[in-house]
Amino acid sequence: MKRKLHPATARLGIIAIALFVWEVAARRFGDPLFMSPPSRVLVAIFQLAHEKEILAAVALTCWELLVAFALSVIMGLVLGLIVGLNRFTRGSMYPVILLLYATPQAMILPLFVLTFGIGTASKIAFGVSHGIFPVMLTVAAGVQNIPPILLTSARSMGANRRQILASVIFPHMIPSFFTGLRLGMTAVLFGVLLAELYVSQSGIGHFTTEFTQTFQPQNLFALVAVLAAIAVTLNELCRWAESRFSRWHA
């Protein structure tokens, strides 16, 4: 049997082939108004990296992402604990939260902008509005589904309510929390970026509009590529955190 390539190598090979095909196709058939080969995009990335305005825009977007994420996590954690720990609030609020979660927030984006303005506040608010739900729901779930046997055994050893909360319930919830963190990051990315693309004075949305309307595909591709790289990095961090803190989980 022929030795096959290591899967990672095969993947790199596929990506390389795809880039090659893109390069050739763009040069041969691509209209330079709409399409740009990867080589030119790479050059554009370097050029844009020297432009102060672009750097500032990317930095601003990162700032929006991180603030929205932090707020989502903190608020999500607190609300999730409140909802999850008390049987009453759980029964009453959970369906409400799920209902809110199910509504397509994308179309109330104009409302957010009307309320918070066209600056960074609306981007952060929209991001939080998306990111808070996964965190809240996973924390609430993590606090609920503790195997009753663990609680029984803790009580049999004399633990009081506070001890049970701190030493049994809270640690048990941690893996769910980190899963919520990862899902929250994805949601925040969606919210903030969507808001940026809708209307932006000085964030990246401003430049994506400019590059689209002035038909500069290489710059547009470059900007998108850089943002994609940032987004993937953030996602990977969350995924690493999730696996790191869930080692004991089944």
């Binding site: 409400v96 179309m107 994506t208």
Partner: protein
């Protein structure tokens, strides 16, 4: 209904009631600019008028059309590719992490590229919806078909099942719930992204309509449309749940 259930229901109704009351009071007093938060009454009137005149049809048609095409593209490509990849353990090891990695990229970033390429007509929305919906479908199809419990496959083999019998009678039914989950996720994501992208750059569709009304400061009507879209989302979810339950029943 026992007392705690009743109490929970009351809290939920109370929540709804409080929202309605707050809305009513703040708009009554004129504390808030009616252009920002219109009075409940006018929103209701606009909503009724919307339903009566049927003005929503052109936009609804556009949005649903975009959704249908996007979903069909994503479902078709996703199941086909997912099936092909699941045939070989090696292919799974190569492609699954690749798809999972691509899924991590916020697909919304591609939208400016699609607008550049396809313009602001339905095509860019469809491309966006299809791209975003593709990934959950392909990932779930691959995993569903490859993680069939070994005991089932061994048992079928020991009874002399042919590869064809194995696929139709064992693998597909076993993978069905996972497949369905993937399709469901794809549909919901496609719907959300289409609404969102219509908001950003479009000349038709429900999302666009809402933005336009907002820009024209016709906020009462905008709220009416928002309520309308929420109803549509609710109906869509219900339809999907129904189809899912029906599918499970028919297969079993």
């Amino acid at each position: 209904m026992n007392s705690s259930r009743l109490a929970q229901r009351l809290v939920q109704l109370g929540f709804l009631g409080a929202v309605v009351l707050a809305w009513y009071l703040t708009t009554m007093q004129g504390h808030i600019n009616p252009l920002l938060l219109p009075p409940l009454g006018s929103v209701y009137r606009e909503f009724v008028s919307l339903l009566e005149t049927g003005q929503f049809w052109p936009d609804l048609r556009t949005t649903l059309y975009e959704l249908a095409i996007a979903f069909l593209l994503a479902a078709g490509a996703g199941t086909l590719i997912g099936y092909t990849v699941s045939r070989s353990g090696y292919a799974i090891k190569v492609f699954d992490p690749l798809f999972a990695g691509l899924y991590a990229i916020p697909t919304i970033l591609l939208f400016p590229l699609y607008v550049l390429f396809f313009g602001i007509g339905p095509a860019s929305k469809i491309a966006m919806g299809a791209t975003i919906a593709f990934f959950p479908v392909v990932l779930h199809t691959t995993s569903g078909l490859s993680y069939v419990k070994e005991a089932y496959v061994t048992a079928a083999r020991s009874m002399g099942a042919s590869p064809r019998q194995m696929f139709w009678n064992v693998m597909l039914p076993a993978a069905f719930p996972v497949l369905l989950t993937g399709l469901r996720m794809g549909l919901i994501l496609a719907f959300l992204s289409i609404l969102g992208t219509e908001t950003i750059a479009s000349f038709s569709g429900l999302g666009h309509q809402i933005v336009e009304l907002g820009e024209n400061m016709d906020t009462a009507k905008m709220f009416a449309y928002i309520v309308f879209v929420i109803c549509i989302a609710f109906l869509l979810n219900a339809a999907v749940s129904f189809a899912e339950a029906r599918g499970q029943r028919d297969l079993a």
